[in-house]
């Protein structure tokens, strides 16, 4: 019965962790990226993985996506769709220098968490509006990738070695996602076998919905008030 506590701890963490620092690449990492000239794949690989593992908005969305996926085949399908989506916009976004506000992108990412939770709760079915899940996950993948791209662009990457570094970062993101996903899957699989799953599934998705609203609201406030975007 202790298993679901881990999950709630994760959700609680998302609500109380210092939000402003959560998503950006900061401190000495930012310094490193700014000073890098030429291809330097392994540090970028690490940064990509770190960004994904510590980016709880991405993780909460993944949690929402796999909440009711029982077969490994389905998990792989949706995670691949998500990865394709965010890889596309991550690489194209940086290469072609799309200028989008990081706050607005992160707001949509927050809303994607709420969207998935609402979907898990059967909300869209109730409203008579059903979007194919594959399109939704792939589409939000594009937005998540745009979020990753804006973070990298903010750091002023050197054009020398840009593509190899980008690809390394992207591979890092996938590795980080695999690590995080494995952990989430283990917890979810254990939790699903307990009786508490049926009872707490609604509560967990309600919390996910709330977490998404908070993330989105925080970014909206940041867009208007932080004055840095």
């Amino acid at each position: 019965m202790r298993r679901h506590h881990i999950l709630f701890a994760l959700l609680a963490f998302a609500l109380i962790a210092p939000p402003v620092f959560a998503h950006a690449i900061g401190g000495s990492d930012a310094q490193f990226v700014r000073n890098t000239v030429g291809a330097d794949p392994f540090p970028f690989l690490y940064l990509g993985a770190k960004h994904m593992v510590t980016g709880y908005d991405h993780l909460l969305f993944l949690l929402g996506v796999i909440f009711f996926l029982y077969r490994l085949k389905d998990v792989l399908l949706y995670v691949t769709l998500f990865s394709l989506g965010h890889s596309t916009t991550l690489i194209l976004g940086v290469l072609f220098d799309f200028g989008v506000s990081a706050h607005l992108v992160d707001m949509v990412i927050g809303l994607s968490v709420s969207y998935k939770a609402f979907e898990n709760l059967g909300g869209f079915r109730k409203l008579g509006f059903e979007l194919d899940n594959r399109i939704a996950v792939g589409g939000f993948g594009l937005v998540h990738g745009l979020g990753l791209a804006t973070k990298l662009q903010d750091l002023g990457l050197n054009p020398d070695g840009l593509l190899p570094n980008l690809i390394a970062f992207n591979i890092g993101v996938e590795i980080g996602q695999l690590i995080a996903l494995s952990l989430i899957l283990v917890v979810m699989t254990l939790w699903r076998t307990t009786k508490s799953f049926g009872r707490f599934a609604i509560a967990a998705n309600a919390l996910l919905f709330l977490a998404g609203i908070v993330l989105a609201g925080e970014q909206l406030a940041g867009y208007f008030l932080a004055g840095d975007a």
Partner: protein, 228 residues
């Protein structure tokens, strides 16, 4: 029994319309409350509901700081000012250390334009041990939300008096944080002469509401120490 066709838990939740409305409505309201009441005051220095001030969360906010090198200032040695110089005596009552941060610590600053000079002289009346009084002589700008704050630190130490002169490195507020670590109440008597303006009671720099040019007993009308 095939595992794939007989999931133990429900594959999709069946939630009644009422519960769904409760979850989404509650989520939106609670989310808005968290953002407006906690995140905005703590991270963005904006407090639309006033909860940040009530709960103290707003005090978490601090602007990014730019430190000024206070020993590397340049500029003309002789300056003329448009305004007349002024003189004030400010008596700041501090309780003994048992009076807590509200009673035994206080910040007092005056507003100065960049390049303006003042001469200061302060002493701790009633204190005997130089270790009993801590002071932090510093200044900073008063930025708008989201802007960075420029700060200058002149001297942080312990002692019973200080005399000297200050030329403000930027438009902003300049002054002292005084702390009484001793076991008796003291009065910090600050004498200022020069080109500056007093900060109105309750504003940044004089949040304690100190009244200038009155005896210590009347200098802090809003504060009643909870001791005889």
């Amino acid at each position: 029994m095939s595992e794939q066709e007989q999931p133990i838990a429900p594959v999709q939740l069946k939630v009644s319309g009422k519960t769904l409305a409760l979850i989404t409505g509650g989520g939106l309201v609670a989310g808005a409350l968290i953002v407006l009441g906690a995140i905005m005051p703590a991270e963005f220095n904006t407090d639309p509901l006033g909860i940040g001030k009530l709960s103290g969360i707003a005090r978490l906010w601090a602007p990014d700081e730019i430190e000024v090198d206070t020993n590397a200032a340049g500029g003309p040695l002789a300056r003329e000012y448009e305004t007349a110089p002024r003189t004030d005596v400010i008596e700041i009552p501090l309780t003994d250390f048992l009076g807590g941060a509200k009673g035994s610590e206080l910040e007092y600053k005056v507003a100065m334009k960049q390049g303006a000079t003042l001469i200061y002289e302060w002493e701790a009346v009633g204190a005997k041990n130089p270790n009993d009084i801590g002071f932090d002589f510093h200044g900073h700008t008063t930025p708008e939300p989201g802007q960075e704050m420029t700060v200058a630190s002149y001297k942080a130490s312990r002692g019973l008096s200080q005399t000297g002169a200050l030329t403000a490195p930027f438009d902003g507020i300049q002054g002292w944080q005084f702390s009484n670590f001793g076991d008796g109440a003291v009065v910090i008597r600050v004498k200022l002469t020069g080109f500056y303006e007093l900060v109105p009671s309750g504003q940044e720099g004089n949040l304690a509401g100190i009244v200038a040019n009155v005896p210590a007993a009347q200098a802090r009308p809003d504060f009643k120490p909870n001791q005889p």
